[in-house]
Amino acid sequence: MYRRGGVFTGEGVIPYTGEGSTVTAGSAVCTQIGCAYTGNEAVAYAAKQCNVDVVAAYPITPQTIIVERFSDYVANGEVDTKFMYVESEHSAMSACVGASLAGARVFTSTASQGLALMHEVMYLASGLRTPIVMGVVNRALSAPINIHGDHSDMMGSRDCGWIQLFAENAQEAYDLTIQAFKIAEDPAVQLPVAVNLDGYTVSHATENMKSLTDEDVARFLPPRKPIFKVDPSTPISVGGMALPEYYYEIKRQQEEALRQSRHVVKRVGKEYGDLTGRRYGFMEAYAMEDAQAAVISLGSTCGTVRSVAKRLRAKGKKVGAIKLWMYRPFPAEELISAIKGLKALAVMDRAISFGAPYGALCSDISSSLQNTEVKLKVLNMIYGLGGRDIPPATVERVYRDVLQAARTGKVEERVMFLDVRE
């Protein structure tokens, strides 16, 4: 069905070799084009290849390159997409909801304050079951104003009913964006998907990656078939008022769709892997089989964590690492089965949940452990706020702490704030 890899197409096709951090299984069966993109460019290019009907977006650092690149595609006639230059992120998401309800394939992207401004509309997008895909270039929230990467923005919107995927690098940002449309538009899902990439670290760093041909993307992702649409051919009323006797049932159904979407995320991740050799799913486990201590994180930090874990493994330390691709719906069961053999786990949170016992990821993991037989020590590390670098030396300290907890069975501090000046 798909063309074999390694065919020269004049654009420097690189035969797939199975290298790269994201590869977990299989080998490529389609043509892959070697290219160098920043995370933002990769997302814009993926959205272009997904042949979106409508884009409505508003510029915000560090997401701007996505809208700029897409504007180039529109200006050069490379896409049929209608690009709406809205007057705010609130209107961006609102226009996406309208366009998606009409049956269109819709894309937008934002960051930080923009995401916060969309907050209200994000609930609407999921509540009205609109399969919008959004690239979120994670950035700190004001005040003080800061344009650099952390996860405060998305963590503030984590319970809006969206599927949330996190990319480690440009390749993953590209791959996850293509998968996101297929997941979102699946008849059983019909929910919006956010593809998160770290501001600057991923969004602005140029990396070698491999892209698919337009034809392969089109075969992987056929045109959207809406299960209902706002169109004169179907005079339906959407977004009406549901009083206490109906509201709860409608929301319960929505929650079930989000919970069940994990099967689709898994299936699409496998399908994408069969096609490209880069298989996705809920998480990537590194050296977890016999690990006694591990670190779990989201986004670009996972690369640093994995490389430190590799070094420690070489020294004979029984450490592992987990990268979560899918944060919502939270893959509690699968995660527990991945960590159940551990003695201690360090959870990296790149955002503060103000006043909460832990950061958001750690809260999710801790509560998932409730009522299970799994007994392990959990350490929570807050790190990297406002773009504070997370160097390997810091991760080494995290492993030192988590190994110590594994050894002693004791956790000294419930939450640690890494690399903050005293």
């Binding site: 709406m84 309208g98 049956g103 209200e120 706002v230 169109d231 005079p235 009406g240 008022m241």
Partner: protein, 308 residues
């Protein structure tokens, strides 16, 4: 203008909705749909009309209808318009769709004005209708940017020292026309054939068009439900709500200028203005009278007409 008897029999708006007896906005919606040209979609912002016409599982709409939020109706409508265009280009659908965006005065004058401005600036082919009942009636009669000076609401009560709302009503038509759109109109459900005619003109314009229609609220105005049409008429006749069109930037009065009815006649039918007829607020009433006349003259001037 089409006489009522010659309007389409088809009711795109069904009975059984839960708006109050004598509701002006309900009348404004029904009349607007009598002007429909063909396949039409309505996007409705949060407000009385929205909540009362679609209480699950009963909808009063016989055409596709969307409610999103309070302040984003123009943006949602813009999204629909682009989607229809994009899908048509791809051969995924066919045929023109008229889009009517509908919002109350709170959703238009205040919280939604940014989204409206964006929609007008981008030039979407959408008709925006603001049904103006001059306060946030859905939440229980709070003052809005459309509440006229002196009107008592729950957040601009007529107290011992402050006689109702301070400041006047925004000039929505001028704000909209200021975007350089082809068609803006003010209208009143009291002059129904004129209003329906304006909605039809707005639909026929290629690009954005705005119709700002006065639609009395018996509950909030503290008036008799039977007086809804009468008050809508008197608001025009007293000059407090002049009706006119702005076509390609040119103002045109919809009624021949004549002698204005005393505004007291209009006020005395409404509880929200009753305090202004008390002796202690005589000066306020005089000031309001001056403002009404000044504004009326200003609009006449823009239309190149003289006061009779």
């Amino acid at each position: 203008m089409v006489a009522p008897k010659d309007l389409p029999l088809q009711e795109l708006y069904a009975p059984g909705h839960r708006l109050c007896a004598g509701c002006g906005p309900s009348i404004s919606v029904r009349m607007a749909l009598k002007a429909a040209r063909g396949p039409t979609v309505v996007v409705n912002s949060t407000g009385c009309v929205e909540v009362s016409t679609t209480i699950f599982p009963y909808t009063a709409w016989r055409i596709p209808w969307v409610h999103a939020l309070f302040e984003n109706t123009p943006a949602v409508a813009s999204g629909l318009e682009y989607a229809y265009e994009a899908l048509e280009k791809r051969g995924a659908r066919k045929g023109k769709v008229d889009i009517i965006a509908l919002g109350g005065d709170g959703g238009t004058f205040d919280i939604g004005i940014q989204a409206l401005s964006g929609m007008l600036e981008r030039g979407h082919d959408i008709v925006y209708i603001c049904y103006d009942n001059e306060a946030y009636m859905n939440t229980g009669i709070q003052r809005s940017g459309a509440t006229p000076r002196g009107a008592a609401t729950t957040t601009s009560p007529a107290g011992k020292v402050i006689p109702g709302k301070r400041g006047g009503k925004k000039d929505l038509a001028a704000i909209c026309a200021g975007h350089g759109i082809k068609y803006t109109a003010t209208a009143s459900i009291g002059f129904f054939t004129d209003y329906i005619d304006k909605v039809r003109k707005a639909i026929e314009v290629d690009g954005p068009a705005v119709v700002h229609v006065l639609a009395p609220c018996p509950l909030g105005w503290r008036s008799s439900p039977a007086d809804t049409i009468k008050l809508a008429k008197m608001a025009v006749q007293t000059g407090i709500f002049p009706i006119y069109e702005v076509v390609d930037g040119k103002y045109r009065m919809s009624l021949k200028p004549g002698k204005l009815l005393p505004v007291e006649e209009y006020f005395k039918l409404q509880g929200r203005f009753s305090h202004l007829l008390r002796p202690e607020f005589k000066e306020e009433l005089e000031e309001i009278n001056r403002e009404i006349e000044g504004n009326y003259r200003r609009i006449l001037g823009l239309a190149g007409e003289q006061v009779a």
